[in-house]
Subunit: 242 residues, 2 copies
């Protein structure tokens, strides 16, 4: 019997998540979309209140096919309406500036993912406490257990919102300068400038008691490293390749 | 007669743009909001199609109280409905990761701005051509005049969308670690990790003819510089302090 290879899991494509402009850049398989999400800490969430769209930045994290964030003003809408509300959660990494030989071909290299689903409150106190520990550990490996435990008051003051990814699409451009064939010979400067988000040297809180060491879990947080690589490592450390 | 000082110009505050969570971080004056916008190239735009919110990343630029971008899928909605459509355009800069002594006080330092208005097509061909030149020069000083001119076909294929900022709010956190007074003495590692977006060394297109020099206008694009600082300089070079 021949070995069978399963096709990669992918999100269903409809009008909602189909990549329209430059559709050759589109990705719908889970692995591509997850890789874009897991390299980020900040997303932007679109939601509607009384017919007005809002776009709010927030920290988020992924657990399987669920995304979580806390305390955005989407809470306002959720509180009004007990059922889930439709949201679009988007992540974007800017990877380069592309200076071409004509205005039309100026561009950027980037990776972005749009996720569609319905937002709901995580209300169970135990589930909420677990979610917040996961958030800490997802960004900063093994950190939650080293912290002063959350108080009941803190948990009460924290809103955790979740959504299942019903549909998603990724979009990637990575080709740098791409000009019209007849333009390459023109005496015009054209170049790609890489862009990356990096962390600087840790600034330890000056009020720490003497002798508190940097935890092993933060070994990856080295000066000058790319934040997207650090975040991807943290996610894999907690969840493997899920 | 005493000198009079005008109060700084500010956006009107209503339910739509009032900063709710952590309202002490809110800013409504034009100068604060513009400074956040002008330090960015990429924004996220929320809009509604058939009751579904979408959140799309795109390059944008500011000219006075108008914002412009091109070719987002908001075009789909605009095409259906001739009148302006409500949008929310948001810019976010992540400035640091803040690791506190309890989960609740973990945070990030950031600058963000949300702008509300109605999107419309820039349809006049001359205005469109000018807008695209401005876009190039706003990011890359004096560059538009050095390029191969746009063809009629290219202009036709480009959609330029504009909006007047009706209302906006900025939000800034920059205080680093801030713990409960009684937690500072605990033997827990706490620190701030600065985050910055930087550009790398230019990668000139290998197909340039010999002898094409780097234009003077790109002198600010030096390896390792912060992109937000470069973009703010470019904006001021074109528009001064407007």
């Amino acid at each position: 019997m021949p070995d069978t290879v399963s096709p990669p899991e992918a999100y269903p494509v409809t009008e909602r998540n189909k990549v329209r402009r430059l559709h050759e850049r589109g990705r719908y398989d889970h692995a591509s979309v997850h890789a874009i999400l897991d390299a980020a800490m900040i997303c932007h969430i679109a939601y509607i209140i009384d017919g007005q769209p809002y776009c709010t930045p927030t920290a988020f994290w992924r657990e399987g096919e669920h995304l979580y964030w806390h305390g955005s003003s989407a809470s306002r809408m959720l509180r009004k309406q007990k059922a889930g509300i439709p949201v679009c959660l988007t992540v974007t990494h800017l990877d380069s500036l592309v200076l071409a030989r004509c205005g039309f071909n100026h561009s950027v290299d980037y990776r972005s993912a749009m996720c569609f689903g319905e937002a709901y409150f995580v209300e169970d106190p135990a589930e909420k406490a677990r979610a917040l520990d996961v958030m800490i550990n997802r960004f900063y490996p093994d950190r939650a257990a080293t912290l002063r435990p959350s108080t009941g008051q803190e948990l009460k003051a924290t809103t955790v919102i979740g959504m299942r990814i019903e549909q998603a699409s990724g979009k990637i451009r990575s080709k740098g300068v791409a000009d019209e064939e007849e333009d390459y010979a023109l005496p015009i400067y054209a170049a790609r400038f890489p862009v990356r988000q990096v962390i600087g040297a840790a600034e330890p809180c000056p009020r720490m008691p003497a002798g508190v060491a940097t935890p092993d879990g933060l070994a990856g947080f080295a000066e000058g490293r790319r934040l997207d690589e650090i975040l991807l490592e943290s996610q894999h450390r907690l969840y493997g390749d899920e």
